[in-house]
C-alpha cells in the first residue's frame, strides 16, 4: 500500500496528524506520473517544481498546526482551467504556448486552501468529446482494460478520470457541460459530481458552452468529492452567472441516513434496447435504496428523448461564438499564408489550430444561429430546453432525488469507430438532460459488468440541493461497497 492508495480524506487527515509530509505525498505522486505518463498520457504538463514548492509551503503551515481545508493535498487540474504562468492548452493546437497572466477563481480557491498542483491533465479538445479521443496531445488511456487492452477513460475529463483511477492523484478538477465529469467517472469506476449551474465560478475556465459549463471534482469516493466541493463552490462577483448563495458544509451531509427520502426512477431512461447489464445494475441500486429506507417512486420525464438534440443545437451555437476569440491575434497559434491578409490569417490559423470535432461543432453552431435558421433551430431548442427543465421541476415536487444509469454502455476500446458523429453523441444520453436543466448530478460506481468493467449510477437533485445528492450517493456508495480495482493496478498490493 502506498500513500497514493489513500483517499483524499485520509491524506488530509494524515497530513494534519503528521503521519507523512506534503512533500513526500507530492513526490510519490509526481514520480508515479513520470513513470507512467507515456502509457496513460493523462498529463499534458507536469508541474514538478511548482508542486514541490507548494508542498514545502504546506509543510511549513502544517508544522505550525495551521493550514487550509485541503492543505498539502495533491491535485490534477484539467487543462481547461487557466493557471497563471503555467501552459494552458484546452488540449488544442490553437493555444500553443499560451501561459495565462491570470488564475481561474476555482484554482485560486484551491491554492488558498493549500492544494498542491501536480500538473495540467488531458481532455477532449475544448471539452468536446466523450472519450478523450480528440485531444491535440493524444488519447488518454484508462487503467481499466479488456483482454489486456486499455480502454478509453470517457470524456471530456478523460485525463482527470484516468489520473484518479490510476492513483496518479487523489482528485482532479473536471468540467461538465453535457456529462464530461460524470461519464468519465463512470467509465473509470470512480466518483464525480457536477454541481448546480452557478455553484462554481466559471471565471478563468476556457468557455465551451456558457449556459452549460460547470466545474466539479473527480475523486475516488463521495466524501472526497464533498470535501473538494466545499472549497470550490461559492459566489464570484467576476462571474455574472454565479449564484449568490451560501455554501453549506457538504461533508456534513454524509450522514448515511436516507430513511424516508423519495427517489424517482424515470421510465424514459429505460428505453427498449438498454444494455441488460446496465439495467440490472440500476435495479440493484433501486433495491439497495429501498433497503436503506428510501421510498422509490416511478416518475416520468416526458421530453427526455429530445434532450440530446436540444443539447447539440445549443452547445455548438454557444461554442461557435465562444471560440471566435481564437484567431491568432493575441495569443496561441498564428498561421499567416504567404502574401495573405487578415482574413487569410484567421482562416488558416483556425483551420490548422482546431481539430475535426471542434470544427464540426463550430460549423453546426454557426449554421443554427445564422439568418433564416435561428428560429427553427436555436430558438426552438431553447424552448424545448425549458420543457425539459420543467419536467424535472414537476418531478421534484414528488421526489427528493432521481436515480439513473450514468452511461448507456460500459467503457469501450480504442478500436470502437462510430460510423458517424451522432453515434458518439449518444454516449451523453443520460447525462445531458441534467445539464440542460442546470441541476446537480453525481456518478458513483454501481458495479462491474461481466467483463469486469465499471458501470456508473447517477443521482440527480434539485437545484442547489447538492446536500441531498451527496447524502443519498454516500449511503448508496456504502451499501454497494465497490472495491474493484482497474486491471492495470490489479497487480499492485491491495
Amino acid at each position: 500500500m502506498t500513500l497514493r492508495d489513500l483517499t483524499l480524506a485520509e491524506m488530509r487527515d494524515g497530513l494534519k496528524a503528521k503521519k507523512f509530509s506534503a512533500t513526500e505525498l507530492a513526490k510519490e505522486h509526481l514520480d508515479e506520473i513520470e513513470k507512467t505518463n507515456a502509457h496513460y498520457n493523462a498529463f499534458i504538463t507536469i508541474t514538478r517544481e511548482h508542486a514541490l514548492a507548494q508542498a514545502a509551503q504546506s509543510d511549513a503551515k502544517l508544522a505550525k498546526g495551521a493550514g487550509g481545508a485541503i492543505e498539502g493535498v495533491p491535485i490534477g487540474v484539467k487543462d481547461l482551467f487557466c493557471t497563471k504562468g503555467v501552459l494552458t492548452t484546452a488540449a488544442s493546437h490553437i493555444l500553443d504556448g499560451f501561459k495565462p497572466q491570470y488564475e481561474s477563481t476555482i484554482t485560486t480557491k484551491l491554492w488558498n486552501e493549500g492544494g498542491v498542483m501536480l500538473g495540467k491533465v488531458n481532455l477532449d479538445e475544448f471539452a468536446m468529446g466523450s472519450g478523450n479521443l480528440t485531444s491535440f496531445y493524444g488519447h488518454v488511456k484508462s487503467p481499466w482494460e479488456k483482454d489486456g487492452k486499455a480502454l478509453v477513460p470517457g470524456g471530456s475529463s478523460g485525463g482527470s478520470a484516468s489520473a484518479v483511477a490510476a492513483r496518479l492523484a487523489p482528485v482532479a478538477l473536471g468540467t461538465d457541460t453535457g456529462g464530461s465529469i460524470r461519464q468519465p467517472a463512470a467509465f473509470c469506476g470512480i466518483t464525480g459530481i457536477k454541481p448546480t449551474y452557478g455553484r462554481c465560478s466559471r471565471f478563468g475556465i476556457v468557455a465551451f458552452a456558457s449556459s452549460l459549463d460547470q466545474a466539479g471534482p473527480i475523486a475516488r469516493n463521495v466524501r472526497d468529492c464533498a470535501i473538494m466541493l466545499n472549497v470550490m463552490c461559492g459566489y464570484d462577483p467576476k462571474d455574472s452567472t454565479s449564484a449568490n448563495l451560501a455554501v453549506p458544509d457538504f461533508e456534513k451531509a454524509l450522514t448515511g441516513n436516507i430513511k424516508g427520502k423519495k427517489i424517482g426512477i424515470p421510465k424514459e431512461y429505460r428505453p427498449d434496447g438498454i444494455d441488460p447489464e446496465i439495467n440490472a445494475m440500476w435495479d440493484k441500486g433501486i433495491e439497495l435504496l429501498k433497503s436503506l429506507g428510501a421510498e422509490v417512486v416511478d416518475i416520468s420525464l416526458p421530453h427526455t428523448s429530445y434532450a440530446l438534440a436540444t443539447y447539440y443545437v445549443i452547445a455548438p451555437a454557444e461554442c461557435s461564438s465562444n471560440l471566435a476569440r481564437y484567431d491568432g491575434v493575441r495569443y496561441g497559434l498564428r498561421v499567416t499564408p504567404e502574401g495573405g491578409g487578415l482574413t487569410d490569417m484567421y482562416e488558416a490559423t483556425r483551420a490548422a489550430g482546431f481539430g475535426a470535432e471542434v470544427k464540426r461543432r463550430i460549423m453546426i453552431g454557426t449554421y443554427v444561429l445564422s439568418a433564416g435558421y435561428y428560429d427553427a433551430y436555436y430558438k426552438k431548442a431553447q424552448r424545448v430546453r425549458w420543457l425539459i427543465a420543467e419536467d424535472f421541476r414537476q418531478a421534484f415536487e414528488k421526489v427528493d432525488a432521481i436515480l439513473t444509469p450514468t452511461a448507456p454502455s460500459a467503457p469501450f476500446g480504442f478500436d470502437y469507430k462510430p460510423s458517424n458523429p451522432v453515434e458518439m453523441y449518444l454516449n451523453d444520453v443520460f447525462t445531458v438532460p441534467t445539464s440542460l436543466a442546470g441541476l446537480p448530478g453525481i456518478s458513483i460506481p454501481g458495479g462491474l459488468n461481466k467483463d469486469g468493467l465499471p458501470l456508473g449510477l447517477q443521482l440527480i437533485g434539485k437545484a442547489f440541493d447538492e446536500e441531498t445528492v451527496l447524502g443519498v450517493a454516500y449511503a448508496l456508495e456504502q451499501a454497494i461497497g465497490f472495491t474493484a480495482k482497474p486491471q492495470k493496478l490489479a497487480g499492485a498490493a491491495a
Partner: protein
C-alpha cells in the same frame, strides 16, 4: 436539412475556417447528418413555451463604476504572436 458544398463554403467563411474543396463534401455530409438528427425537435409542441434564457434564476449582478483593472500593457501583449509598441500586430485586411 441537407447541406451542399456551397452551403459549407458560406458557413466556413462566416466561421473564418479554411476548408479545402476536398473536405467540403465531407463536412456537408457530416453536418447534414447531424442537422437531420436534430430536426426531431420540430416534433415538439412549443406553443406558448418561453425560451430558457438562463438556468440561474437570479437578477443580473451589477458592478460599481470604479476603475479596478488595466494598467498592465505587458501582461496584455505577453502571449501575442506579434506585438510592437505595446500594440498587437496583424496583417492588413486585403482589399
Amino acid at each position: 436539412m441537407s447541406l451542399d458544398a456551397k452551403a459549407v463554403t458560406k458557413i466556413a467563411r462566416l466561421a473564418r475556417i479554411a476548408v479545402s474543396d476536398a473536405d467540403k463534401e465531407h463536412y456537408a455530409r457530416e453536418i447534414s447528418g447531424i442537422l437531420n438528427w436534430v430536426e426531431q425537435l420540430a416534433e415538439v409542441n412549443t406553443d406558448g413555451v418561453p425560451q430558457m434564457t438562463s438556468v440561474a434564476n437570479m437578477s443580473l449582478p451589477l458592478r460599481a463604476d470604479v476603475v479596478t483593472d488595466g494598467n498592465q500593457q505587458e501582461a496584455v501583449v505577453a502571449n501575442a504572436p506579434s506585438s510592437d509598441y505595446g500594440c498587437f500586430v496583424v496583417p492588413k485586411v486585403m482589399e
